[in-house]
Protein backbone atom coordinates (compact mmCIF):
# COMPACT_ATOMS: atom_id res chain seq x y z
CA UNK A 1 0.00 0.00 0.00
CA UNK A 2 1.11 3.55 -0.66
CA UNK A 3 1.46 4.59 2.95
CA UNK A 4 3.38 1.55 4.03
CA UNK A 5 5.76 1.97 1.14
CA UNK A 6 6.23 5.58 2.03
CA UNK A 7 6.91 4.67 5.62
CA UNK A 8 9.37 2.05 4.52
CA UNK A 9 11.18 4.64 2.49
CA UNK A 10 11.57 7.15 5.29
CA UNK A 11 14.64 5.50 6.88
CA UNK A 12 16.29 5.57 3.48
CA UNK A 13 15.71 9.29 3.15
CA UNK A 14 17.03 9.78 6.67
CA UNK A 15 20.17 7.88 5.85
CA UNK A 16 20.88 10.02 2.86
CA UNK A 17 20.18 13.23 4.69
CA UNK A 18 23.57 13.95 6.32
CA UNK A 19 25.44 13.32 3.08
CA UNK A 20 22.94 15.40 1.18
CA UNK A 21 23.26 18.33 3.52
CA UNK A 22 27.02 18.22 3.28
CA UNK A 23 27.11 18.25 -0.47
CA UNK A 24 24.50 20.95 -0.63
CA UNK A 25 26.67 23.18 1.49
CA UNK A 26 30.12 22.34 0.27
CA UNK A 27 29.54 21.42 -3.35
CA UNK A 28 26.35 23.08 -4.50
CA UNK A 29 26.75 26.43 -2.81
CA UNK A 30 30.18 27.01 -4.39
CA UNK A 31 28.56 26.50 -7.80
CA UNK A 32 27.74 30.19 -7.72
CA UNK A 33 31.38 30.56 -8.63
CA UNK A 34 30.67 29.11 -12.04
CA UNK A 35 29.26 32.47 -12.95
CA UNK A 36 32.87 33.66 -12.92
CA UNK A 37 33.26 31.87 -16.21
CA UNK A 38 30.98 34.48 -17.76
CA UNK A 39 32.07 37.57 -15.92
CA UNK A 40 35.05 39.81 -15.60
CA UNK A 41 35.86 38.93 -12.04
CA UNK A 42 36.92 41.66 -9.65
CA UNK A 43 37.54 40.59 -6.07
CA UNK A 44 36.08 43.39 -4.03
CA UNK A 45 32.66 43.28 -5.56
CA UNK A 46 29.76 41.05 -4.56
CA UNK A 47 29.70 38.14 -6.89
CA UNK A 48 26.75 39.05 -9.02
CA UNK A 49 27.87 42.57 -9.47
CA UNK A 50 30.70 41.83 -11.84
CA UNK A 51 30.46 42.90 -15.49
CA UNK A 52 29.02 40.23 -17.70
CA UNK A 53 31.19 39.19 -20.61
CA UNK A 54 29.37 36.15 -21.86
CA UNK A 55 31.50 33.67 -23.70
CA UNK A 56 34.51 35.95 -23.99
CA UNK A 57 36.78 33.83 -21.81
CA UNK A 58 36.01 30.76 -23.87
CA UNK A 59 36.70 32.72 -27.03
CA UNK A 60 39.93 34.03 -25.55
CA UNK A 61 41.31 30.53 -25.03
CA UNK A 62 39.91 29.31 -28.32
CA UNK A 63 41.60 32.14 -30.16
CA UNK A 64 45.01 31.31 -28.77
CA UNK A 65 47.25 30.09 -31.54
CA UNK A 66 47.71 26.59 -30.14
CA UNK A 67 44.28 25.91 -28.72
CA UNK A 68 43.41 23.13 -31.15
CA UNK A 69 46.79 21.50 -30.73
CA UNK A 70 46.41 21.65 -26.97
CA UNK A 71 42.91 20.21 -27.09
CA UNK A 72 44.08 17.37 -29.29
CA UNK A 73 47.04 16.59 -27.03
CA UNK A 74 44.76 16.52 -24.03
CA UNK A 75 42.26 14.19 -25.67
CA UNK A 76 44.96 11.93 -27.02
CA UNK A 77 46.91 11.55 -23.81
CA UNK A 78 43.83 11.30 -21.59
CA UNK A 79 42.15 8.69 -23.76
CA UNK A 80 45.26 6.54 -23.90
CA UNK A 81 45.52 6.81 -20.15
CA UNK A 82 41.91 5.72 -19.71
CA UNK A 83 42.28 2.68 -21.94
CA UNK A 84 45.70 1.49 -20.80
CA UNK A 85 44.92 2.53 -17.26
CA UNK A 86 41.99 0.14 -17.16
CA UNK A 87 43.49 -2.78 -19.05
CA UNK A 88 46.67 -3.09 -17.03
CA UNK A 89 45.01 -3.35 -13.59
CA UNK A 90 42.57 -5.95 -14.86
CA UNK A 91 45.36 -8.04 -16.26
CA UNK A 92 47.48 -7.70 -13.14
CA UNK A 93 44.53 -8.47 -10.84
CA UNK A 94 43.80 -11.61 -12.80
CA UNK A 95 47.42 -12.69 -12.74
CA UNK A 96 47.68 -11.93 -9.06
CA UNK A 97 44.61 -13.99 -8.43
CA UNK A 98 46.40 -17.02 -9.82
CA UNK A 99 49.14 -16.90 -7.25
CA UNK A 100 48.81 -19.70 -4.77
CA UNK A 101 51.20 -18.46 -2.15
CA UNK A 102 49.43 -15.97 0.05
CA UNK A 103 52.55 -14.17 1.16
CA UNK A 104 53.68 -13.65 -2.40
CA UNK A 105 50.29 -12.30 -3.34
CA UNK A 106 50.24 -9.88 -0.45
CA UNK A 107 53.81 -8.82 -1.05
CA UNK A 108 53.22 -8.00 -4.68
CA UNK A 109 49.98 -6.26 -3.82
CA UNK A 110 51.72 -3.97 -1.37
CA UNK A 111 54.66 -3.22 -3.58
CA UNK A 112 52.67 -2.24 -6.64
CA UNK A 113 50.71 0.30 -4.63
CA UNK A 114 53.89 2.09 -3.53
CA UNK A 115 54.55 4.29 -6.59
CA UNK A 116 51.24 5.99 -5.84
CA UNK A 117 52.96 7.76 -2.95
CA UNK A 118 55.66 9.33 -5.01
CA UNK A 119 55.08 12.86 -6.15
CA UNK A 120 55.74 13.84 -9.73
CA UNK A 121 58.22 16.40 -8.53
CA UNK A 122 60.64 13.73 -7.49
CA UNK A 123 59.55 11.17 -10.06
CA UNK A 124 60.29 13.72 -12.74
CA UNK A 125 63.93 13.78 -11.78
CA UNK A 126 64.13 10.00 -11.70
CA UNK A 127 62.45 9.60 -15.05
CA UNK A 128 64.72 12.11 -16.72
CA UNK A 129 67.64 10.02 -15.50
CA UNK A 130 66.49 6.59 -16.51
CA UNK A 131 65.11 7.75 -19.84
CA UNK A 132 68.16 9.72 -20.83
CA UNK A 133 69.38 8.84 -24.31
CA UNK A 134 73.00 8.87 -23.27
CA UNK A 135 73.06 7.38 -19.80
CA UNK A 136 69.65 6.10 -18.90
CA UNK A 137 69.25 2.41 -18.23
CA UNK A 138 66.21 2.09 -20.44
CA UNK A 139 68.18 3.11 -23.48
CA UNK A 140 71.09 0.98 -22.39
CA UNK A 141 68.74 -1.99 -22.28
CA UNK A 142 67.43 -1.12 -25.71
CA UNK A 143 71.01 -0.95 -26.91
CA UNK A 144 71.45 -4.59 -25.94
CA UNK A 145 68.80 -5.38 -28.51
CA UNK A 146 70.47 -3.19 -31.05
CA UNK A 147 67.90 -0.39 -30.86
CA UNK A 148 69.03 3.22 -31.30
CA UNK A 149 68.68 5.46 -28.23
CA UNK A 150 65.33 7.16 -27.98
CA UNK A 151 64.96 10.63 -26.50
CA UNK A 152 61.75 9.75 -24.66
CA UNK A 153 61.12 13.04 -22.96
CA UNK A 154 62.48 15.29 -25.65
CA UNK A 155 61.00 13.79 -28.78
CA UNK A 156 57.48 14.67 -29.79
CA UNK A 157 56.92 11.21 -31.19
CA UNK A 158 57.60 9.54 -27.87
CA UNK A 159 56.53 12.02 -25.26
CA UNK A 160 52.81 11.12 -25.07
CA UNK A 161 53.52 7.39 -24.78
CA UNK A 162 56.08 8.04 -22.08
CA UNK A 163 53.53 10.09 -20.17
CA UNK A 164 50.91 7.37 -20.44
CA UNK A 165 53.16 4.50 -19.47
CA UNK A 166 54.77 6.26 -16.53
CA UNK A 167 51.38 7.34 -15.23
CA UNK A 168 49.93 3.86 -15.52
CA UNK A 169 52.97 2.53 -13.70
CA UNK A 170 52.35 4.98 -10.90
CA UNK A 171 48.65 4.41 -10.50
CA UNK A 172 47.81 0.90 -11.63
CA UNK A 173 48.18 -0.37 -8.07
CA UNK A 174 45.07 1.58 -7.08
CA UNK A 175 42.70 -0.01 -9.55
CA UNK A 176 44.27 -3.41 -9.08
CA UNK A 177 43.25 -3.31 -5.45
CA UNK A 178 39.68 -2.55 -6.38
CA UNK A 179 39.60 -5.42 -8.85
CA UNK A 180 41.14 -7.78 -6.33
CA UNK A 181 38.47 -6.85 -3.83
CA UNK A 182 35.90 -7.54 -6.52
CA UNK A 183 37.48 -10.89 -7.28
CA UNK A 184 37.08 -12.02 -3.70
CA UNK A 185 33.40 -11.35 -4.11
CA UNK A 186 32.96 -14.05 -6.68
CA UNK A 187 31.25 -17.08 -5.25
CA UNK A 188 33.85 -19.85 -4.83
CA UNK A 189 31.25 -22.54 -5.44
CA UNK A 190 31.10 -21.41 -9.05
CA UNK A 191 34.72 -22.36 -9.43
CA UNK A 192 34.20 -25.66 -7.67
CA UNK A 193 31.38 -26.49 -10.03
CA UNK A 194 33.54 -25.59 -13.02
CA UNK A 195 36.39 -27.79 -11.84
CA UNK A 196 33.99 -30.68 -11.50
CA UNK A 197 32.89 -30.01 -15.05
CA UNK A 198 36.53 -30.26 -16.08
CA UNK A 199 36.99 -26.67 -17.16
CA UNK A 200 40.59 -25.47 -17.46
CA UNK A 201 41.78 -22.48 -15.52
CA UNK A 202 41.64 -20.39 -18.62
CA UNK A 203 38.05 -21.36 -19.32
CA UNK A 204 37.22 -20.58 -15.73
CA UNK A 205 38.71 -17.15 -16.13
CA UNK A 206 36.74 -16.47 -19.23
CA UNK A 207 33.44 -17.75 -17.97
CA UNK A 208 33.47 -17.00 -14.29
CA UNK A 209 36.09 -14.44 -13.34
CA UNK A 210 35.64 -11.96 -16.11
CA UNK A 211 31.89 -11.84 -16.00
CA UNK A 212 32.16 -11.66 -12.23
CA UNK A 213 34.14 -8.47 -12.29
CA UNK A 214 32.48 -7.03 -15.36
CA UNK A 215 30.22 -4.65 -13.42
CA UNK A 216 33.19 -3.16 -11.63
CA UNK A 217 35.14 -2.90 -14.86
CA UNK A 218 32.29 -1.03 -16.49
CA UNK A 219 31.94 1.14 -13.43
CA UNK A 220 35.58 2.12 -13.24
CA UNK A 221 35.81 2.58 -16.98
CA UNK A 222 32.80 4.85 -16.97
CA UNK A 223 34.01 6.95 -14.08
CA UNK A 224 37.39 7.28 -15.69
CA UNK A 225 35.67 8.51 -18.84
CA UNK A 226 34.91 11.58 -16.81
CA UNK A 227 38.62 12.31 -17.02
CA UNK A 228 38.73 12.49 -20.77
CA UNK A 229 40.03 16.04 -20.60
CA UNK A 230 42.27 15.57 -17.58
CA UNK A 231 45.58 14.56 -19.02
CA UNK A 232 47.32 14.98 -15.67
CA UNK A 233 48.61 18.47 -14.94
CA UNK A 234 50.99 17.53 -12.17
CA UNK A 235 52.74 14.93 -14.25
CA UNK A 236 52.96 16.83 -17.49
CA UNK A 237 54.08 19.98 -15.73
CA UNK A 238 57.01 18.18 -14.15
CA UNK A 239 58.02 16.33 -17.27
CA UNK A 240 57.43 18.69 -20.16
CA UNK A 241 59.64 21.33 -21.67
CA UNK A 242 59.48 23.75 -24.61
CA UNK A 243 60.95 21.09 -26.88
CA UNK A 244 57.83 18.96 -26.49
CA UNK A 245 55.12 21.61 -26.26
CA UNK A 246 53.90 20.33 -29.60
CA UNK A 247 52.80 16.97 -28.30
CA UNK A 248 52.79 17.54 -24.59
CA UNK A 249 51.12 20.88 -23.94
CA UNK A 250 47.71 20.17 -22.48
CA UNK A 251 44.77 22.36 -21.55
CA UNK A 252 45.82 22.62 -17.93
CA UNK A 253 49.43 23.57 -18.59
CA UNK A 254 48.27 26.22 -21.04
CA UNK A 255 45.86 27.67 -18.50
CA UNK A 256 48.59 27.55 -15.89
CA UNK A 257 50.99 29.62 -17.98
CA UNK A 258 48.23 32.09 -18.74
CA UNK A 259 47.55 32.32 -15.04
CA UNK A 260 51.16 33.22 -14.30
CA UNK A 261 50.74 36.56 -16.02
CA UNK A 262 47.64 37.37 -14.05
CA UNK A 263 45.72 35.24 -11.59
CA UNK A 264 43.10 34.58 -14.23
CA UNK A 265 40.37 32.99 -12.18
CA UNK A 266 37.75 33.70 -14.79
CA UNK A 267 39.68 31.90 -17.50
CA UNK A 268 40.46 28.98 -15.22
CA UNK A 269 36.82 28.73 -14.21
CA UNK A 270 35.68 28.89 -17.83
CA UNK A 271 38.03 26.11 -18.84
CA UNK A 272 37.02 24.10 -15.78
CA UNK A 273 33.40 24.49 -16.75
CA UNK A 274 34.12 23.38 -20.28
CA UNK A 275 35.92 20.27 -19.01
CA UNK A 276 33.08 19.51 -16.62
CA UNK A 277 30.48 19.72 -19.33
CA UNK A 278 32.40 17.32 -21.51
CA UNK A 279 32.88 14.90 -18.60
CA UNK A 280 29.22 15.11 -17.76
CA UNK A 281 28.22 14.33 -21.33
CA UNK A 282 30.58 11.35 -21.47
CA UNK A 283 29.40 9.90 -18.20
CA UNK A 284 25.75 10.41 -18.97
CA UNK A 285 26.19 8.71 -22.32
CA UNK A 286 27.88 5.71 -20.72
CA UNK A 287 25.27 5.53 -18.01
CA UNK A 288 22.43 5.43 -20.46
CA UNK A 289 24.17 3.06 -22.82
CA UNK A 290 24.90 0.63 -20.01
CA UNK A 291 21.34 0.90 -18.81
CA UNK A 292 19.69 0.46 -22.17
CA UNK A 293 22.00 -2.20 -23.53
CA UNK A 294 22.81 -4.25 -20.46
CA UNK A 295 20.17 -3.19 -18.01
CA UNK A 296 22.98 -2.21 -15.72
CA UNK A 297 22.81 0.94 -13.69
CA UNK A 298 26.28 2.19 -13.06
CA UNK A 299 25.13 4.16 -10.07
Amino acid sequence: MGLRKWRREIPLHMMILPGLVLILIYSYVPFFGLTMAFQKFLPARPFFDNPWVGLEHFRYVWDMPNSLRVLWNTLYIASLKIVVGQLVPIAVALLLNELRKEWLKRGVQTLIYLPHFLSWIILGGILIDILSPSQGIVNQLLGVFGIEPIYFLGDNRWFPITIVISDVWKEFGFNTIVYLAALTGINPSLYEAAVIDGASRWKQTLNITLPGILPIVVLLATLSLGNVLNAGFDQVFNLYSPSVYESGDIIDTLVYRVGLEQAQYSVATAIGLFKSIVSCVMISLSYFLAYRLANYRIF
Binding site: E9, M15, P30, G33, L99, N187, I216
Partner: protein
Amino acid sequence: MIRMSMGYRVFNAFNILFLVALSFACLLPIIHILAISLSGSSEAGAGLVSLWPVGFTTSSYEFILKKPEFLTSIGVTLQRVALGTVVGMLITLLVAYPLSKETHAFRMRTIYAWAFVFTILFNGGLIPWYMTIKWTGIMDTIWALVLPGAVPVFNIILLLNFFRGLPKELEESASIDGAGHWTTLWRIYAPLSMPAIATIMLFTIVNHWNSWFDGLILMKSHDNYPLSTYLQTILVRMDLTSVTGEALNNLREVSDRTAKAAQIFVGALPIMLVYPFLQRYFVKGIVMGSVKE
Protein backbone atom coordinates in the same frame (compact mmCIF):
# COMPACT_ATOMS: atom_id res chain seq x y z
CA MET B 1 42.96 -28.44 -4.83
CA ILE B 2 43.07 -27.71 -8.50
CA ARG B 3 45.23 -30.14 -10.37
CA MET B 4 47.81 -28.32 -12.33
CA SER B 5 48.31 -29.30 -15.92
CA MET B 6 51.72 -28.95 -17.48
CA GLY B 7 50.63 -25.86 -19.34
CA TYR B 8 49.37 -24.33 -16.20
CA ARG B 9 52.61 -25.00 -14.39
CA VAL B 10 54.56 -23.20 -17.06
CA PHE B 11 52.13 -20.34 -16.94
CA ASN B 12 52.44 -20.23 -13.17
CA ALA B 13 56.20 -19.98 -13.35
CA PHE B 14 56.11 -17.14 -15.84
CA ASN B 15 53.39 -15.44 -13.88
CA ILE B 16 55.44 -15.45 -10.72
CA LEU B 17 58.45 -14.19 -12.61
CA PHE B 18 56.48 -11.43 -14.24
CA LEU B 19 54.80 -10.26 -11.06
CA VAL B 20 58.05 -10.28 -9.13
CA ALA B 21 59.71 -8.25 -11.86
CA LEU B 22 56.79 -5.85 -11.78
CA SER B 23 57.14 -5.52 -8.04
CA PHE B 24 60.78 -4.70 -8.42
CA ALA B 25 60.00 -2.11 -11.02
CA CYS B 26 57.81 -0.49 -8.41
CA LEU B 27 60.20 -0.97 -5.55
CA LEU B 28 63.42 0.25 -7.13
CA PRO B 29 62.51 3.93 -7.37
CA ILE B 30 61.49 3.83 -3.72
CA ILE B 31 64.86 2.39 -2.76
CA HIS B 32 66.54 4.99 -4.90
CA ILE B 33 64.70 7.78 -3.15
CA LEU B 34 65.48 6.28 0.24
CA ALA B 35 69.14 6.22 -0.73
CA ILE B 36 69.02 9.86 -1.79
CA SER B 37 67.38 10.86 1.47
CA LEU B 38 70.27 9.33 3.38
CA SER B 39 73.01 10.74 1.17
CA GLY B 40 75.13 13.83 1.43
CA SER B 41 73.72 16.84 -0.33
CA SER B 42 76.67 17.35 -2.66
CA GLU B 43 76.66 13.73 -3.70
CA ALA B 44 72.94 13.74 -4.29
CA GLY B 45 73.23 17.04 -6.11
CA ALA B 46 75.84 15.60 -8.42
CA GLY B 47 73.63 12.67 -9.33
CA LEU B 48 75.97 10.11 -7.86
CA VAL B 49 73.37 8.15 -5.92
CA SER B 50 71.71 5.11 -7.39
CA LEU B 51 70.50 2.40 -4.99
CA TRP B 52 72.80 2.91 -2.08
CA PRO B 53 73.45 6.08 -0.07
CA VAL B 54 76.64 7.91 -0.94
CA GLY B 55 78.08 10.03 1.79
CA PHE B 56 75.70 8.61 4.36
CA THR B 57 74.06 11.17 6.57
CA THR B 58 70.78 11.53 8.34
CA SER B 59 70.82 15.32 8.22
CA SER B 60 67.78 15.63 5.96
CA TYR B 61 65.69 13.65 8.39
CA GLU B 62 67.06 15.64 11.29
CA PHE B 63 66.20 18.81 9.48
CA ILE B 64 62.60 17.73 9.09
CA LEU B 65 62.13 15.99 12.38
CA LYS B 66 63.78 18.33 14.81
CA LYS B 67 61.45 21.20 14.25
CA PRO B 68 58.66 21.36 16.85
CA GLU B 69 56.17 21.98 14.07
CA PHE B 70 56.79 18.44 12.95
CA LEU B 71 55.24 16.94 16.07
CA THR B 72 52.33 19.37 16.12
CA SER B 73 51.58 18.65 12.49
CA ILE B 74 51.58 14.91 13.06
CA GLY B 75 49.03 15.51 15.78
CA VAL B 76 46.87 17.46 13.38
CA THR B 77 47.13 14.80 10.73
CA LEU B 78 46.24 12.00 13.11
CA GLN B 79 43.25 13.98 14.25
CA ARG B 80 42.23 14.63 10.71
CA VAL B 81 42.66 11.05 9.57
CA ALA B 82 40.73 9.67 12.50
CA LEU B 83 37.89 12.15 12.27
CA GLY B 84 37.86 12.17 8.51
CA THR B 85 37.82 8.41 8.17
CA VAL B 86 35.06 7.94 10.71
CA VAL B 87 32.90 10.65 9.21
CA GLY B 88 33.70 9.59 5.67
CA MET B 89 32.98 5.90 6.23
CA LEU B 90 29.75 6.66 8.04
CA ILE B 91 28.50 8.87 5.26
CA THR B 92 29.62 6.38 2.65
CA LEU B 93 27.71 3.54 4.26
CA LEU B 94 24.67 5.66 4.94
CA VAL B 95 24.43 6.95 1.40
CA ALA B 96 25.48 3.81 -0.47
CA TYR B 97 22.82 1.65 1.12
CA PRO B 98 19.75 3.61 0.00
CA LEU B 99 21.23 4.26 -3.39
CA SER B 100 21.78 0.57 -3.92
CA LYS B 101 18.08 -0.12 -3.74
CA GLU B 102 15.94 -0.52 -6.80
CA THR B 103 13.86 2.39 -7.91
CA HIS B 104 10.63 0.63 -7.06
CA ALA B 105 11.78 0.30 -3.47
CA PHE B 106 13.11 3.82 -3.24
CA ARG B 107 11.59 6.18 -5.72
CA MET B 108 13.86 9.17 -5.37
CA ARG B 109 16.91 6.98 -5.80
CA THR B 110 18.06 8.01 -9.21
CA ILE B 111 17.52 11.67 -8.53
CA TYR B 112 19.63 11.46 -5.40
CA ALA B 113 22.27 9.46 -7.25
CA TRP B 114 22.64 12.07 -9.94
CA ALA B 115 22.70 14.80 -7.30
CA PHE B 116 25.75 13.16 -5.78
CA VAL B 117 27.48 12.35 -9.04
CA PHE B 118 27.00 15.89 -10.22
CA THR B 119 29.32 17.08 -7.48
CA ILE B 120 32.28 15.18 -8.83
CA LEU B 121 31.68 16.44 -12.34
CA PHE B 122 31.24 20.11 -11.65
CA ASN B 123 33.34 22.32 -9.48
CA GLY B 124 32.65 25.90 -8.52
CA GLY B 125 36.32 26.77 -8.34
CA LEU B 126 38.90 27.62 -5.74
CA ILE B 127 37.59 30.99 -4.64
CA PRO B 128 33.93 29.99 -4.04
CA TRP B 129 35.18 26.92 -2.18
CA TYR B 130 37.25 29.13 0.06
CA MET B 131 34.43 31.58 0.60
CA THR B 132 31.91 28.89 1.45
CA ILE B 133 34.23 27.40 4.00
CA LYS B 134 34.73 30.84 5.49
CA TRP B 135 30.99 31.46 5.67
CA THR B 136 30.35 28.23 7.52
CA GLY B 137 32.80 29.36 10.16
CA ILE B 138 35.07 26.35 10.11
CA MET B 139 38.12 28.13 8.75
CA ASP B 140 41.28 27.34 10.67
CA THR B 141 39.68 24.40 12.48
CA ILE B 142 39.99 20.66 12.03
CA TRP B 143 36.51 20.60 10.50
CA ALA B 144 37.75 22.51 7.47
CA LEU B 145 39.89 19.51 6.68
CA VAL B 146 37.11 17.01 7.33
CA LEU B 147 33.73 18.38 6.25
CA PRO B 148 34.26 19.64 2.69
CA GLY B 149 35.61 16.26 1.63
CA ALA B 150 33.35 14.16 3.82
CA VAL B 151 31.23 12.83 0.97
CA PRO B 152 33.49 10.68 -1.20
CA VAL B 153 31.18 10.02 -4.12
CA PHE B 154 33.58 7.67 -5.85
CA ASN B 155 33.72 5.44 -2.79
CA ILE B 156 29.96 5.60 -2.44
CA ILE B 157 29.52 4.39 -5.99
CA LEU B 158 31.95 1.53 -5.38
CA LEU B 159 30.17 0.48 -2.24
CA LEU B 160 26.69 0.68 -3.70
CA ASN B 161 27.77 -1.61 -6.48
CA PHE B 162 29.04 -4.06 -3.93
CA PHE B 163 25.79 -3.89 -2.06
CA ARG B 164 23.94 -4.59 -5.25
CA GLY B 165 26.02 -7.69 -5.72
CA LEU B 166 24.77 -9.20 -2.49
CA PRO B 167 21.94 -11.70 -2.86
CA LYS B 168 18.51 -10.10 -2.68
CA GLU B 169 17.26 -13.00 -0.58
CA LEU B 170 19.29 -11.73 2.32
CA GLU B 171 17.34 -8.58 2.53
CA GLU B 172 14.06 -10.32 1.97
CA SER B 173 14.60 -12.84 4.71
CA ALA B 174 15.81 -10.11 7.05
CA SER B 175 12.70 -8.07 6.48
CA ILE B 176 10.54 -11.09 7.04
CA ASP B 177 12.27 -11.44 10.37
CA GLY B 178 11.18 -7.89 11.10
CA ALA B 179 14.50 -6.13 10.51
CA GLY B 180 14.23 -2.54 9.36
CA HIS B 181 16.65 -0.83 6.98
CA TRP B 182 19.02 0.23 9.74
CA THR B 183 19.42 -3.27 11.07
CA THR B 184 19.80 -4.70 7.60
CA LEU B 185 22.53 -2.26 6.82
CA TRP B 186 24.57 -2.70 9.96
CA ARG B 187 23.97 -6.33 10.75
CA ILE B 188 23.95 -7.85 7.29
CA TYR B 189 25.24 -5.71 4.47
CA ALA B 190 28.17 -4.13 6.24
CA PRO B 191 29.77 -7.36 7.56
CA LEU B 192 29.39 -8.99 4.18
CA SER B 193 31.08 -6.13 2.36
CA MET B 194 34.28 -6.22 4.31
CA PRO B 195 36.62 -6.33 1.31
CA ALA B 196 34.96 -3.34 -0.24
CA ILE B 197 34.80 -1.47 3.04
CA ALA B 198 38.44 -2.20 3.76
CA THR B 199 39.37 -0.97 0.32
CA ILE B 200 37.41 2.20 0.72
CA MET B 201 38.78 2.80 4.17
CA LEU B 202 42.29 2.49 2.82
CA PHE B 203 41.58 5.04 0.12
CA THR B 204 40.02 7.40 2.63
CA ILE B 205 42.96 7.14 5.01
CA VAL B 206 45.53 7.62 2.26
CA ASN B 207 43.63 10.55 0.88
CA HIS B 208 43.43 12.32 4.21
CA TRP B 209 47.03 11.56 5.00
CA ASN B 210 48.33 13.00 1.74
CA SER B 211 46.08 16.05 1.29
CA TRP B 212 48.14 19.14 1.74
CA PHE B 213 46.57 21.83 -0.40
CA ASP B 214 43.51 22.37 1.79
CA GLY B 215 45.74 22.65 4.81
CA LEU B 216 47.81 25.29 3.06
CA ILE B 217 44.90 27.49 2.06
CA LEU B 218 42.47 26.99 4.92
CA MET B 219 44.69 27.02 7.97
CA LYS B 220 45.76 30.42 9.18
CA SER B 221 48.04 29.39 11.99
CA HIS B 222 51.11 27.27 11.37
CA ASP B 223 50.15 25.17 14.38
CA ASN B 224 47.15 23.89 12.50
CA TYR B 225 49.02 22.56 9.52
CA PRO B 226 48.71 18.85 8.94
CA LEU B 227 51.90 16.90 8.33
CA SER B 228 51.64 16.90 4.56
CA THR B 229 51.24 20.67 4.42
CA TYR B 230 54.12 21.20 6.82
CA LEU B 231 56.32 18.98 4.68
CA GLN B 232 55.43 20.97 1.59
CA THR B 233 56.38 24.25 3.19
CA ILE B 234 59.84 23.21 4.24
CA LEU B 235 61.00 22.39 0.77
CA VAL B 236 63.50 24.93 -0.35
CA ARG B 237 62.36 25.71 -3.83
CA MET B 238 65.10 26.75 -6.09
CA ASP B 239 63.54 29.37 -8.31
CA LEU B 240 66.56 30.14 -10.36
CA THR B 241 65.06 32.98 -12.32
CA SER B 242 65.11 35.30 -9.34
CA VAL B 243 67.24 34.66 -6.30
CA THR B 244 67.38 37.59 -3.95
CA GLY B 245 70.47 38.67 -2.14
CA GLU B 246 68.96 37.63 1.14
CA ALA B 247 68.41 34.09 -0.05
CA LEU B 248 72.16 33.65 -0.28
CA ASN B 249 72.59 31.93 3.02
CA ASN B 250 69.66 29.62 2.42
CA LEU B 251 71.41 28.03 -0.46
CA ARG B 252 74.16 26.66 1.67
CA GLU B 253 71.91 24.58 3.84
CA VAL B 254 69.86 21.52 3.16
CA SER B 255 69.90 20.41 -0.40
CA ASP B 256 66.71 20.45 -2.39
CA ARG B 257 67.17 16.85 -3.41
CA THR B 258 67.76 15.12 -0.12
CA ALA B 259 65.09 17.11 1.69
CA LYS B 260 62.47 16.24 -0.90
CA ALA B 261 63.45 12.61 -0.72
CA ALA B 262 63.25 12.53 3.06
CA GLN B 263 59.92 14.32 2.84
CA ILE B 264 58.44 11.50 0.81
CA PHE B 265 59.46 8.94 3.36
CA VAL B 266 58.35 10.83 6.38
CA GLY B 267 55.03 11.41 4.68
CA ALA B 268 54.46 8.00 3.18
CA LEU B 269 56.02 5.56 5.62
CA PRO B 270 53.10 5.35 8.05
CA ILE B 271 50.72 4.50 5.26
CA MET B 272 53.03 1.97 3.79
CA LEU B 273 53.03 0.31 7.19
CA VAL B 274 49.25 0.44 7.65
CA TYR B 275 48.39 -1.02 4.30
CA PRO B 276 49.51 -4.62 4.88
CA PHE B 277 47.22 -4.81 7.90
CA LEU B 278 44.19 -3.81 5.92
CA GLN B 279 45.02 -6.42 3.33
CA ARG B 280 43.80 -9.16 5.63
CA TYR B 281 40.25 -8.05 5.00
CA PHE B 282 40.53 -8.41 1.26
CA VAL B 283 41.51 -12.00 1.60
CA LYS B 284 38.58 -13.07 3.72
CA GLY B 285 36.29 -13.98 0.94
CA ILE B 286 32.58 -13.95 1.15
CA VAL B 287 31.52 -17.17 2.78
CA MET B 288 27.81 -16.68 2.72
CA GLY B 289 27.33 -17.66 -0.82
CA SER B 290 24.83 -20.15 0.42
CA VAL B 291 21.67 -18.64 -0.88
CA LYS B 292 22.01 -18.52 -4.58
CA GLU B 293 19.54 -18.72 -7.40
